[in-house]
Each structure stands twice: as structure tokens, then as C-alpha cells.
Amino acid sequence: MKVEASLYGDRKVFSVSAFNRGIATWLQRLPTVWVEGEVTELKRHQRWQSVFFTLKDPADGACLGVSMPRGQFDGLRLGLADGDHVHAYGRPELYAARGEFRLRALSLERFGLGDHLAALERLKRKLAAEGLFSAERKRALPVWPRTIGLVTGNDAAAKRDVLAGIQTRFPPAHVVVAETYVQGPRAAGAVVEALRRLSEVPGLDVVVVARGGGSFEDLLPFSDERLVRAIASCAVPVVSAVGHEQDTPLCDLAADVRASTPTAAARLVVPDLRELHERLDRARSGLERGARRSLESKVGRLEQAHERLRRAPALLVERRRAGLEHAAGRLRTLSPRATLNRGYAIVRADEAIVRSATSVESGERIEVEVGDGRFGARVE
């Protein structure tokens, strides 16, 4: 549409009406969008063609006028009242007669706690299906973090609690704080940016995202898809300490470890230096005791072996000697002397043993051996 203007010399001047119409026409080219806000100053009159209200941003109070055809508004039967949260679907519009900018709503949906919850549940299911929350993705926290990144609100109690906890337990810890919005519509993007900044810190080993308790809406940014994905894809392990024990923003599920409070997060990321010293001392005394005990048992075993070694040859000789005695005894038993002692005699002729009566002749000299000696004799 061509907008008429008057020319005063080389100055092109629009009438108010032409200006407004021109802007209004230009605005019509903008797309139809969804806008979320809180309903205030709702005005509805039977005489009016449209219903008017103001959408307020609960985070910072920014306002946007909205108009909606009355028939359409009534047809939805939403029964809206001031303070209700809605999603309004429409396009920007300039009311040319008054030069008022507003949103021309075509549709309207209540968006209360229940809708938030439902949307959250859908997102949760979607991310879970992608495996973003799976146990296999969880990384172990470093035992001795060199540098700890802390994403938190400025001068927040959460920040103080985490820093105090870390300082008390592990004074040499190095913490890099990335302050950011932790509430409102800018929070999610700001936390993502803070994570990105921290990831550039050299030597960074772990990140803590800490935010104190708050209302369900306050914690909503920590269930924002961008934020949840940023935490899941963070280069180092992330500890999430957002809200209280009963809150479970999605960032808690995506983080590697979830801490119930900021103080608990401090306990998780750094070891207790004093406890470490005590353990070390105990280990050292155990070391000495162990070394002594091991030595003692070895000395005992060696002495035992030596005692047996010392005795073994003597025992062996003793055993051999006994064997020898036994053999000697048997030898003695087998010798003829015992037989002679029983009254037998050995007869020899010319030193040869006489075994037959026919081998000697009468008058021949023989020698007789009995048990205790020999004597001569003659055959008759």
C-alpha cells in the first residue's frame, strides 16, 4: 500500500494517520507467533467487538497489550482472570487510530503449572529416549580436581555455600566462578554461555552448577532443553546442585552427579584434606607394622628350616647306624658260632672242613672247633 506524504521543499512529511497506517501495514508482514505471559487488566464489555488485556512477563514486568475478537474469546470458555498464565497465538498489530502497538490474538491457551509440568514431562521423555540421562553416560568425578568451575548467580547463597564448602575441605582448590542469571527468561541461555566460557579455562576438571531453592517457575530455566543439552555435552563432569532435595529439574538428570544442596556439591567435588592426612598417617603406621610382621614371619620360617636342616644329617647318620647295627645283628645270628655254642662242633682235617665220615682215615690228626675254642684229636 502506498503511503501518501506531503513535500515541503525536499522534506517528506507524513500525516499521523498515514504514518500509523504505514507502520501497521509493515507490521502485518511479521509472522504469527506464540507469546507467553500473565494476564492482567482484562477488559471485556458486551458493547466491544474485542476483548482487551495486558500480558505481563513475570520475570521482569515487561508488558504487551493484547486484543482478541470477543466472539473468539468467549468461544474458548477459558474463564480467565487476572494473574492466569496463558500462551497467546497472534501477530503484532498497530491500532492505527490510536497508534497503539499490541498483539492481535487469534487463539489463547491457559498455561499454568499443569501445562508446564506436561511440557516438562514431554521434554523429559524425549531427552531420555535420546539416552541423555542414561547411567552409561555418567562420568566419575576427578579425585583431585585442579580447577573447579562454578556456575551460579551473583552473590547467591548457593555460591557462598559451595565456595565455603570447598575452602573448608580442601583449601588448595582453585575455583573459577562464572556468574550468570539463574532466574527468568535469560537464565537458560546465560547458563549455557557460562558453561561455554568455563570450558575454555585451561586445566578445568569439573563444573558445579549451583542454584538455591525457588519456586517451580524459578527453577524452570534449569529444565530448558538448551541448558540440559549443554550440561550433557559439557567436556568435563558436571555436578548439578539446583533447588532442594525434592526438586528434580532436568539438568539434575543430565548432570554426571546430582547434589542435594550446594554444600553437598562441595563435598562431592573435593576431598577432605584433613581426612586425607589422617588416612595417610594411618597408612604409614600400618606400613611399618606390616613390614615388621612380614619380616618376623620370614625369620621364623627360615629358622624353622634351618633347625630341620641342622638335625637332618645327624638323623640320617643315626638311621644309617641303626640299619648297620641291625645288619650286624643278623650277620651274627647267621654265623656258625651260635650253632657251636649250642654243642655242635666243626671238624677240620688239613684246614678243610670234614663233611663225610669216609673222608678221614683212622689215626689221622684232626682239629675240632667248639663254641669257645679249638682242640686237636685223632681219628680212631
Partner: protein, 68 residues
């Protein structure tokens, strides 16, 4: 014992020698040779343990001295 055996190897050999001697199946000459070898192993092991004991005492006194 030219290339020095470990304490454990020497101890094991010593105990094997004792077992053989106690079995009584060795010849006398062999038994004497085994005994000598056993005594040698015993002295070696004892020396090792003595030096370990010395090191323990040394470390223990150093630890004691370094205690705050």
C-alpha cells in the same frame, strides 16, 4: 651363588633340601653336600633378612624424626 638369587628362591631351595634330607632317601655323601648347600642358603637368607631389618629400623627412625 654367583648370580645372586632372590630371597624367595633361596628359601624355597633350602626347604626343598630339608625335605629331601628328611625323606632319608639320599646317599650319605649327597646328604653332606646337601647340608653344606643348605647352610649356605640359610646364611644367605639370614643376611637378606638382617639387611631388611636394618632398613626397617632406619626408615622407622627417619619417620619418627619427621613427625611434626
Amino acid at each position: 651363588m654367583s648370580s645372586e638369587p632372590t630371597f624367595e628362591a633361596a628359601q624355597k631351595e633350602l626347604e626343598q633340601i630339608v625335605q629331601r634330607l628328611e625323606s632319608g632317601e639320599t646317599g650319605l655323601d649327597e646328604a653332606i653336600a646337601l647340608w653344606e648347600r643348605g647352610e649356605e642358603l640359610y646364611r644367605f637368607c639370614l643376611g637378606k633378612l638382617d639387611s631388611a631389618q636394618g632398613k626397617i629400623e632406619q626408615l622407622a627412625s627417619r619417620v619418627e624424626a619427621s613427625k611434626p
